[in-house]
Each structure stands twice: as C-alpha cells, then as structure tokens.
Subunit: 170 residues, 2 copies
C-alpha cells in the first residue's frame, strides 16, 4: 500500500500579506504534532516607477518561485482591505489576484483570513497592535528577534494563523 | 534583409472590459490604412458560487486562450473603477490583475484607457451613454447590430479606442 498521509516531517505553509509595493511572506513547517518552525520570511518589493503589469508579474513570479522552492501544502493569504479608498483597494486587488492565481496554478489549498482572524489566532485578540503580533510571532516560533520588516512578520503571522486554526489531515 | 514591419493584413487588438462576474472582450483587425474590422467578441462569465481564486484563474485562462488564438499585437484594457466602494474595487482589481498578468506573460503591449478616454475616442464625448457607445461601435465597424451583451460591446470599444488613438509602427 502507498502512504497517502502528510509527510512525516510535517507540511509547509506559505503565508502572505499582499501589497503592490511590498508583499510580505513567511514559510513555516508544521509538524504532525502541531509545533511550528519558521523556514524563511521576507518581502517582495516592486518599484512604483514600473508599469503595473510589470509589478504584478514580478509578484506572481516571486510567489511561483517560493512555491517551487518550498512546495507548501497550503497558501494562507490575508483577506481584507483595511482602508476605505477605492483606488488603493483596486491596486491591492491586482497584487492579490496575482498571488491567488500563482497558488491556483499550482492547485494548492488557499486559505483566506481577515486581519482580525489572524490577530485573534496569533495574539488572542482581534484588536492586537502590530507590535503585539510581532512579539507573539517571535514567541510562538522561538525566534531571537521579531521578523523585520513588519510586512514579513505579517506574512509569517498569516502562515502561523493557518497552522493554529486551519484544518489539517491527520 | 528580414521584414520587421507589421504584417501586411494589419494587426489584431484585443480589447477588454474587466469584471469579476463578466469580462467583456473584443478582437479587431486594424489594417495598415487604419480601417478596423471586428473579428470576435464575447463575455467571459464566472459564477459567484465559485471561490475567488477559481474565478480569477478562469478569467486568466480565457484571456490566455484568446491570445493564443488571435495573436494580438496589443491588449487594450479599460482602466478605472467607476464606483466608490472599496470592496467592489478590491474584487475588480483581482480580475484586472489576472488580465494584465496574462498579457504580461505573453510580452504584449498593454494599453490602459480610462472609460472617459474610450468614450471620447469612440463617440467624441467623454460623457457618452452606453447606448451611444454601442451605436458608434456598430457604425464604425459596419455591423448589422450592436454587439451584445453590453460588456462585449465595451470590450470592442476598448479595442477600437486603441486603434483610433493608440500608436502603431508604420
């Protein structure tokens, strides 16, 4: 018989905080017992002087690169636009579309979490500040420092949120 | 010497009116003398009951299919969100991101026109109604009827706009 369960070392989760100028990401490993380790985090930056199609292609290509290197089981993407400005929301939508498309093209599980859900899962309250999120990410992943910049920490928080409240096959 | 000018029969332009539920498109042929003929138009529809990543993947795949079949020289995409609602703008941005990405992945020229620019180019006034746009599309392309549904006519109008005011190599 072929084993069809999750790999014995656990599964990788790619968490993403989308943005046109800066998309934060974090890759974590979730062990079968539920413990979580940080593998990599960072930020994909694009230049405002580039045309929008070039910028979203850069974001798409970067996410495809992360998926190819880490083979995550799922992608966890921050969900909702915080602001009220339609033009900013439209731009953010372009970046988010590119990210969801990269995940869909690799037939990955896509989980979307609202900012409040992520804060609640990681800190225990939906009203947590950025500093509290950073601190709890550091604590829960046993890191020497809070991941920087803040966008990278937000990407890690999205990945950690999915590990804590997402569903996983046994 | 190798000929590097545009093909003798002219170039094809793919015009797109992006939307999450309905993306209208029109493919036109612009002859070297500047006359424009409609090749195909239609609407890519996605179902609101599908997850958003599936819907934007369907839009991306449909645009890639049109590019593969028609080999357009340029893609002309309607530019600006009309409404004020940030949530609708975010959703529209996802669809628009998928469309720009499909064009960027094929290294096509991407032209973006505001709705007012398209109306001004096609009808002569930026305040034209949908009916006026449909009527002028029909007249200029010598069609028996106005293309339907309206989203398809808007895609054709975007393509026609680029033919009328875009730049083309001689």
């Amino acid at each position: 018989m072929t084993s069809v369960g999750p790999p014995p070392e656990g599964v990788r989760i790619l968490g993403i905080d989308p943005g046109t100028a800066a998309t934060g990401y974090g890759v974590v490993l979730r062990s079968p017992t539920g413990s979580v380790t940080l593998i990599e985090c960072g930020v994909v930056r694009t230049s405002a002087s580039e045309p929008l199609p070039t910028r979203i292609r850069e974001i798409y290509d970067a996410i495809v690169g992360l998926i190819a290197r880490h083979r995550p089981a799922a992608v966890s993407v921050e969900d909702v636009f915080h602001g009220k400005n339609a033009q900013s929301a439209l731009k953010l939508g372009h970046a988010r579309g590119a990210i969801l498309l990269a995940a869909a093209h690799h037939d990955l599980i896509i989980a979307e979490y609202a900012p409040r859900q992520i804060k609640k899962a990681v800190v225990g309250t939906g009203n947590a500040t950025k500093d509290q999120v950073g601190f709890m990410v550091q604590q829960q992943l046993r890191l020497k420092e809070i991941p920087t910049p803040a966008d990278a920490a937000d990407g890690v928080a999205a990945a950690l949120c999915h590990c804590l409240i997402g569903s996983f096959p046994r």
